[in-house]
């Protein structure tokens, strides 16, 4: 395997290495296959998932187009079709397929796609929230208490059924909350895409960009928090 030389090479050399066919040393004009010797080329580990699948960094993606691209590249890279090829090509096929599969899995889901984009653009890992979002603080505290009461209440007792009704209504409220957050996220996605499409480099545009990313991050982590609470609720009251 030759790709660990990439990480110690500088960015310029890395670019060089990428543009040369590993097999015939010719400059690769083709996207995934060498134009001269038709050998499969390794997808660079530094390639982001959007580029890998041939999509711009936008948050709205046509699912059918994405799937079609995934199938097309699966046909190009899958190890099934490299059984009669050299060991080097088999290794590339395996690596490319694994990369493609994770790329597709990430981009297929709108939330994972946004989290991934946030990671690319703002360069930070997913934030895991341990405390409730400020505007939900009181509500969540009360809910935790009710949940504890419910868990300790006797089976089929009156308290249990009363608490169940209460929890069910809490659950409905929280699910609505989650839907609201997702609607806000959708708006932010559109804002992001519009901003990118305009391609401005003004200070105004930069400020806007940072604001959208910040709001998106907050929204995503709040949504995950609420979603976990809803799941917990659902598994407790069934």
């Amino acid at each position: 395997m030759d790709h660990h030389t990439h990480s110690i090479a500088g960015p310029r050399e890395l670019q060089m290495a990428r543009s040369m066919c590993w097999h015939c040393q010719s400059e690769v004009a083709g996207e995934y296959f060498c134009d001269r010797c038709v050998k499969v080329q390794p997808v660079s580990k530094d390639l982001d998932y959007f580029t890998c699948l041939g999509f711009p960094r936008r948050l709205k993606i046509d699912q059918h187009q994405l799937e079609a691209k995934f199938y097309e590249l699966s046909r190009a890279f899958h190890p099934d079709f490299y059984q009669n090829k050299s060991a080097a090509e088999q290794t590339i096929s395996l690596g490319n397929s694994a990369m493609l599969n994770i790329a597709y899995r990430t981009l297929r889901d709108p939330i994972q796609r946004a989290e991934y984009l946030l990671d690319l653009e703002a360069g930070s890992v997913k934030e895991i929230r341990n405390s409730p979002p400020a505007d939900l603080f009181e509500e969540i505290l009360e809910l935790q208490e009710t949940l504890n009461e419910y868990r300790t209440a006797g089976r089929a007792s009156e308290t249990e059924s009363a608490l169940r009704v209460k929890l069910q209504s809490e659950r409905n409220t929280l699910e609505q909350r989650q839907r609201d957050m997702e609607a806000t996220l959708q708006q932010l996605f559109v804002e992001w895409d519009t901003l990118q499409d305009r391609g401005e480099t003004t200070d105004q545009a930069r400020t806007n960009r940072d604001r959208i990313l910040k709001q998106m991050r907050e929204n995503l982590s709040n949504r995950t928090y609420v979603k976990n609470i809803v799941n917990d609720l659902a598994s407790t009251i069934g």
Binding site: H4, Q83, L94, G95, Y104
Partner: protein, 609 residues
């Protein structure tokens, strides 16, 4: 490229198939049957496999192994609950179950290898060429250890296992090829020992698995047990006999239970009959389909929850399923069909023989790998989440279940203490929070250069290949050096042990072949002697004394050679005998022809009356 065959290595039966002119075909044996019972018996004359071994189940239960697939990739503690059901002796060595047969012990992959060899020979005899490459199917819900054990079995049998594929997806390939289906399908696969459900999306030749679930310890065997338990209880109550003390009779009960179950798929009522030991006479009992269904209802219900979970993971409801396909012999049970139909709200497909469809699909996959088919592509998933142990005995997931394979994940490791030279890594598979509730796959120690705490950076890549088998590699990010890892499987054979078994297998193969040829020659010699004796009785008066004495001398020579161990000598003497009986045979043929003609005339006369 050399031909690749497709093999269904089943709990109860195994099959081998190949692709002929774009159409997969199952290879029949000399007895014209396509299924080889997955049974291996140790006899005084050596190991035998398949139909002849099945006869030893009741004759020689302690030395006849069946359902070995249940033990693949497992330790003894995994099967504690059902040890009493197996008449052969199980032990454990190095985390791997061992089966004691006579003086020797065998690992489950070695026993499976014997079945694979039988299939290999069958294919070689049928196709007239050497077979060394195969695709072997496994239950979709098999974990890494069980898959690895299957691959080991292939290697021990002298097969290059080019791909391990999942049984329900193999079945979908066979169906898809036949019907050019598009849309979302559910494959419900209930075999002899395992249950799988897979949800797939079929579009333009791509078979994309969306989700899979199952139970690797639920199948026809368990249904048989319910019935067998009923018989044993009743025999105890009515005849005062505990059959558990008679392993041969316990096998008889098990087989009769299986036969009754099979009959009840077509009939509403059947009678089970068993001869009892200790001159206690016979046990005879009517069993109705209703009774069978109440005995097995709970087991059938147990298959439905995995179906619901798979739908949920695929983000679908039963209404989204366009077609339901039934696979595995146990889906012949009307109750199973009813429950599946009720769950999905659709009449399930069962056009293809549910016993053969998996082998057919394996042959299709073999054809894809050999480059024969390029328009079909199977994108399968890993059935279980893969992770590593972290602080506090918690599992941290790296590759989620139902991720399309090949799949990889990278994890960076560093040290907590200055000068620390190693990091222990424990790999797990499963869906639970705590390490102890998941399946331990393997452990290894990462070598780290002695540096201040937190400075070393070792990147470990966990890669699940297209077989669903894990490969681990590590790289020091600072130096770029890769390191080889000595991964110790928790429930598997070590590489050295597999190597040794392959060697032994080749050594024994020569002995086995000799033993087999001897047995065959002896059997045929017996047949020819019996036939000759019969011929002498019929036609001694038709030939001269000289002829008769030369026949007798040749018979004696065959008898003498038969007590020796040289199969070639036996065959040579048999050829002599055939020459000696040539004249007698001709004379007899003429007489019987005449008689036949006369009989014919006679019958014509009588029919005219």
């Amino acid at each position: 490229m050399a031909r690749i065959v497709g093999i269904d290595l089943g709990t109860t039966n195994s099959l081998v198939a190949y692709m002929a002119d774009g159409c997969p075909r199952v290879i029949p044996g000399r007895n014209e049957r396509t299924m080889v019972p997955s049974v291996v018996a140790m006899t005084d004359n050596g190991l035998i496999v398949g139909d002849p071994a099945k006869e030893h189940l009741t004759r020689n239960p302690e030395r006849t192994v069946y359902s070995v697939k249940r033990f693949m990739g497992k330790g003894l503690e995994d099967v504690q609950g059902e040890l009493a059901y197996f008449p052969y002796h199980l032990t454990e060595q190095g985390g791997v179950i061992r089966i004691k047969l006579g003086e020797k012990t065998y690992s489950p992959p070695q026993i499976s290898a014997m079945i694979l060899k039988e299939l290999k020979q069958r294919a070689e005899a049928h196709l007239g060429e050497n077979i060394s490459k195969a695709v072997i199917t496994v239950p979709a819900y098999f974990n890494d250890s069980q898959r690895q054990a299957t691959k080991d079995a292939g290697m021990i049998a002298g097969l290059d296992v080019l791909r391990i594929i999942n049984e329900p997806t193999a079945a979908s390939l066979a169906y898809g090829l036949q019907q050019k289906t598009q849309g979302t399908i559910a494959v419900y696969d209930l075999g002899g020992g395992t249950f799988d459900i897979s949800i797939l999306k079929l579009k333009n030749g791509i078979f994309e698995v969306l989700a899979t679930n199952g139970d690797t310890h639920l199948g026809g065997d368990d249904f048989d047990r319910q019935i067998a338990d009923l018989f044993v209880t009743e025999i105890r109550a009515h005849h005062g006999l505990d059959l558990n003390a008679y392993p041969d009779h316990m096998q008889g009960v098990r087989l009769e239970a299986e036969r009754a179950k099979i009959r009840l798929s077509d009939e509403l009522k059947t009678t089970a009959i068993l001869d009892l030991p200790e001159s206690k006479g016979r046990y005879s009992r009517d069993l109705t389909r209703d009774q069978l269904e109440s005995l097995t209802m709970e087991l059938v219900e147990r298959t439905l929850e995995p179906c619901r979970l798979a739908l949920k993971d695929a983000g679908l409801t039963s209404r989204d399923i366009d077609e339901v396909v039934l696979v595995g012999g146990s889906t012949r049970m009307p109750l199973v069909r009813q429950r599946v139909q009720a769950l999905f709200g659709k009449e399930p497909h069962c056009e293809l023989n549910p016993d053969e469809v998996v082998a057919l699909g394996a042959a299709v996959q073999a054809d894809i790998l050999s480059g024969g088919t390029t328009d079909l592509l199977l994108l399968d998933v890993t059935p279980l989440s893969l992770g590593i142990e972290t602080m506090g005995g918690v599992m941290s997931s790296l590759i989620r279940r139902n991720t399309t394979i090949p799949a990889s994940a990278k994890e960076m490791f560093t040290t907590y203490v200055d000068g620390q030279t190693g990091v222990d890594i424990h790999i797990l598979q499963g869906e639970r929070e705590l390490v102890k509730d998941n399946r331990s796959l393997a452990r290894f120690r990462l070598k780290v250069p002695p540096l201040p705490a937190g400075v070393p950076r070792i990147e470990v890549t966990f890669l699940i290949d297209a077989n669903g088998i894990l490969n681990v590699s590590a790289r020091d990010v600072r130096t770029g050096d890769t390191q080889s890892l000595a991964v110790k499987p928790s429930y598997g054979l070590s590489d050295d042990e597999v190597e040794r078994m392959i060697g032994e297998s080749f050594k024994f193969a020569a002995d086995d072949l000799k033993a087999r040829q001897l047995i065959e020659a002896r059997t045929e010699a017996e047949t020819i002697i019996m036939a000759t004796e019969k011929a002498i009785k019929q036609g001694a008066q038709l030939v001269g004394k000289e002829d008769l004495s030369s026949i007798r001398a040749s018979m004696a020579a065959v008898e003498a050679a038969k007590s020796g161990t040289d199969h070639k000598a036996i065959r040579a003497k048999m050829a002599d005998l055939e020459k000696a009986t040539h004249h007698l045979a001709e004379v007899l043929m003429d007489t019987s022809l005449k008689e036949a003609l006369e009989n014919k005339k006679l019958s014509e006369l009588t029919s005219k009356k």
